[in-house]
């Protein structure tokens, strides 16, 4: 009954214009195997999978199923051949019910094209029971948590009788616990004969679940690896050279506290408290990293500091000045430098020139403007200087910023934000989607800013980055502070904290009602302190 399927990609090449996204890639997915495609952001993994799924036509090469070449003109053909895909960004219609989403594209109908969703509901229940998914077919997708939405995606593929399931970066939006559950589901699927192509750049998960690992770098297969291979080995294969997983940085020399958040609450348009009575502080010359799974209030926290959130209570004090209630412009003028999490959406104007982007928040200040009259010469002059200083690779200062690579765009944003004297530097996901070479550069600049005595706040969902940069780590869960721990706290403890479980060991400084106690600025963890109330609250949600 179980139809197993062997999938082979032979010599797949995909070009976009002159850009070579995939270069003669060969991959064989054996039946009933979890096959991992490991590679950095931008290595070409997703492009390859979109080719396999019929969304892109390969420039060259063949797809073979059970050793017979097939040609997919669209995802419909791929699905008919038994290939299912869970995209990194879910492909669910938010205003449809689960059943409608599952039915879409392969709708059971009565006469004359009338929908018969009962059949779909039945199938959802069957699959849901089989795998313990617990999904309500009549729930609206937009009301479901991310983890459940992902299960809906898997159901979509299973209803279509997928024999090969492609999972594209499926853990990016999950908590460590949800990730473990997903890995279990993957093993279950495998045991029932479904092959899985697992795309990831997270080495631990890859090692935990894969049968075979194919490493892709800059559009090429650079080799296969055994899941038993060491993390360092895999990392250097993925990046293409020996990587030092740690950043050389001098220990922090923290000075006085100049930035303090007290009892901050942000209410979303729907009434939810997305940031919930949050208190913390940052001292001059230290990096505080805010860790947590995506969507736990990090975005709203940075937006509240910047003045982009409307319903904010509590207090944000920088150099003794209250920032709550101020406009973005006033906050920036108070000396806040901000690198937003999504540079293309919030950080850059893609159609503007590099030079103009470099003055995006300085255009109306001297020397770039006198009154409302701007000086293009000064803008150009500034650009030439910054481009050199930050090693931004661009054809010219007049080139549109949208044409630069991700890493160079990020350098551009960073160059702009660090080009004026700062009293606080906030960088959200500073290296997301950036190649390794740029990551090192960007990290060094962040540390340099710290060493100049600026309080620095880093928001990152990548635990590696948090551990590398932070002098202290604050973990957010559902808008609440789970706790603040020193650098060097173990990955396991942080993982639990990200799921809302407070650490047994932590510094108590953030929990005093007035925000911090000046006594406990030690870098060492203080053992045996009882978990304060705010932490217990966080644990309730776990």
């Amino acid at each position: 009954m179980v139809r197993v399927l062997k999938l082979e990609l032979r010599g797949i090449t995909k070009r976009f214009g002159t850009l070579l996204a995939n270069d003669h890639i060969d991959v064989v997915v054996e039946p009933g195997q979890i096959h991992c495609l490991l590679g950095e952001n931008g290595a070409g993994k997703s492009t390859l999978m979109n080719v396999l799924y019929g969304l892109y036509e390969p420039t060259e090469g063949d797809i073979l199923i059970d050793d017979k070449p097939v040609a997919f003109r669209g995802p419909g053909d791929a699905m008919a051949a038994g290939i299912g895909m869970v995209h990194q960004h879910f492909m669910l219609v938010p205003v449809f019910t689960v059943a409608e989403n599952v039915a879409l594209g392969a709708e059971p109908t009565k006469a004359a094209g009338f929908l018969n969703l009962d059949q779909t509901r039945q199938r959802i229940k069957e699959i849901s029971d089989q795998y313990g998914f617990n999904v309500d077919p009549d729930a609206l997708v937009e009301d479901l948590p991310v983890g459940v939405q992902q299960r809906v995606e898997i159901i979509k593929a299973l209803v279509r009788d997928a024999r090969v399931l492609i999972l594209d970066e499926p853990t990016a939006v999950l908590t460590p616990q949800e990730t473990d559950e997903l890995l279990d589901i993957m093993r279950q699927l495998k045991s029932r004969g479904t092959s899985i192509v697992f795309i990831s750049h997270k080495l631990r998960e890859v090692k935990a679940v894969s049968d075979t690992i194919t490493v892709i770098r800059r559009g090429k297969v650079v080799g296969t690896a055994d899941p038993a291979a060491s993390t360092t080995e895999l990392a250097s294969m993925m990046v293409g050279r020996a990587v030092s997983l740690t950043l050389d940085k001098a220990p922090a020399q923290p000075k006085e506290t100049t930035f303090e958040v007290r009892d901050l609450t942000v209410v979303a348009p729907n009434g939810q408290h997305v940031v919930d009575h949050l208190s913390f502080h940052i001292r001059r010359g230290e990096i505080l990293a805010i860790a947590g799974v995506q969507g736990n209030g990090q975005t709203e926290l940075t937006e509240a500091i910047l003045g982009l959130q409307e319903r904010v209570t509590g207090s944000i004090v920088l150099d003794g000045k209250e920032l709550v209630g101020r406009s973005v412009k006033e906050v920036l003028e108070a000396g806040v430098g901000f690198v937003p999490e999504d540079r293309k959406v919030d950080g850059l104007v893609g159609t503007f020139s590099v030079a103009e982007n470099l003055v995006l928040d300085l255009y109306d200040k001297p020397p770039f403007a006198k009154g409302i009259s701007m000086s293009p010469a000064k803008v150009m002059e500034n650009a030439k200087q910054r481009i050199g200083e930050f090693d931004v690779r661009t054809p010219s200062a007049a080139a549109a910023a949208g044409t630069l690579s991700g890493g160079n765009q990020q350098k551009l944003v960073m160059a702009r934000e660090l080009s004026r004297p700062l009293r606080l530097f906030i960088a959200s996901q500073p290296t997301r989607g950036v190649d390794v070479g740029s990551i090192e550069f960007l990290h060094r600049r962040i540390v340099a800013e710290r060493d100049q005595g600026t309080p620095v706040m880093i928001i990152s969902t990548e635990l590696d980055e948090v551990m590398e940069l932070a002098d202290r780590i604050a973990v957010l869960y559902k808008g609440k502070l789970v706790g603040t721990v020193p650098a060097g706290t173990s990955r396991d403890v942080l993982g639990l904290m990200m799921a809302g479980i407070p650490p047994e060991e932590h510094t108590p400084e953030e929990q005093t009602p007035d925000g911090h106690s000046p006594v406990h600025h030690a870098q060492t963890p203080q053992a045996g302190t009882p978990a304060p109330a705010s932490n217990a609250e966080g644990a309730d949600h776990a």
Binding site: L55, P75, V95, T109, A112, N270, Q272, D342
Partner: protein, 441 residues
Amino acid sequence: MSTTVSSPRPGSPKPGGAGAAAPATVLAAKPVSWKTPVLLAVFALVSLVFFGFLAPRQTASFGISTGGDFFQLPALEINAFAGGIVLSVLLVALAGYAVFLKTKGQPAPGWLPVTFIVIFVAAFLIWVVGGARTPAISLAGLIAGSVTLAVPLVFGSLSGVLCERVGVVNIAIEGQLLGGAFTAAIVASMTKNAFIGLLAAAIAGAVVSMVLALFSIKYLVNQIIVGVVLNVLVSGVTGFLFSTVMQANKAQFNSPPGLDVIDIPVLSSIPIIGPILFRQSLVGYLMYVAVAVVWVGLFKTRWGLRVRAVGEHPQAADTLGINVNATRFWNVTLGGAVAGIGGSFFTLVAIDSFTKEISGGRGFIALAALIFGRWNPVGAFFAALLFGFADNLQSIVTIIGTPVPSQFMAMLPYLVTVLAVAGLVGKSRGPAASGIPYVKG
């Protein structure tokens, strides 16, 4: 935002990023806005003061039966002052209920604004008629006339529904109506057959729509630009051909046989309802059919599910093997055909020849009806009826001589639409996101 045309971008800039994560923490109900209760209260007070206290002390007479009716009902005689007070008190009560619900954190139910609008219109009508020189109108005639005037609006707004639900903004309704009107006239004249003219009108509307689809889907030209330009183009082409061809030989090219009113015996003699439902031209009957078919099609069939998916999240539809661009192309084309039929109303039913700009901006009122009706075929139908009512009332008030300038009546659909898009009317009704199409460049 949720009531606008452009906001429909659920899938767009960040399909996954923060957007995908948001539902994890965002589970609460939609927020309840103060806008609706406050606005209802304001309108209730306006009604109380103007239609109530300041009402003329005349008696307004509303004829219900017409001569040929099946049985005769006496005319409704209402003292303008008393009627105004009673209805205004009802409005105040409704507004108070909305405020009460708001304080309890609940949104006003969908029937509330609808009921409010109906009562407000009634109060207004009594006030207008009560203040006229001859305070008597035929209610039956007023309503039947409203339906007639609404016919092209309904077809136009259905065209809009079909296009926008699939993710293409249709500003070209005006052009589709005009193209349909012209083609119906010329083809019916040449073939001496109104039915062929009707068919030709549908094809003409579809052709206009195909240009919209071609440029917006294949060449990715901004849909609003194509729509605006198409209106000018159709206006130019029909105007040109009218001047050169039709005027040169009116008998041959511009005297179409009309589509007569088809009276369904007995049923058409029921007071008020009879003329509305059973005394219509073929185009009028088609209107009812079209509203029903589009509604059932959109919400009950496979086709509709796919259309809505394409309009809401085209990428999702694409990954499930649905051809997004083909779906869009054919739906937009279908929408054009529907509007084309609406256009034929001008030359085959209302007037028996074509003149320049015969559609007179009704395409834009249809667009307004579509928005006011929240991208729902039935909603659009009732919105179109309301605008048809305003249009008809405008000519009636000029005849009976009221103090309200007719220009303000003419302005009404546009004012109402501004209020609607500004989110001031009925924002609380239903999950707004369900009616929002996806618009891409």
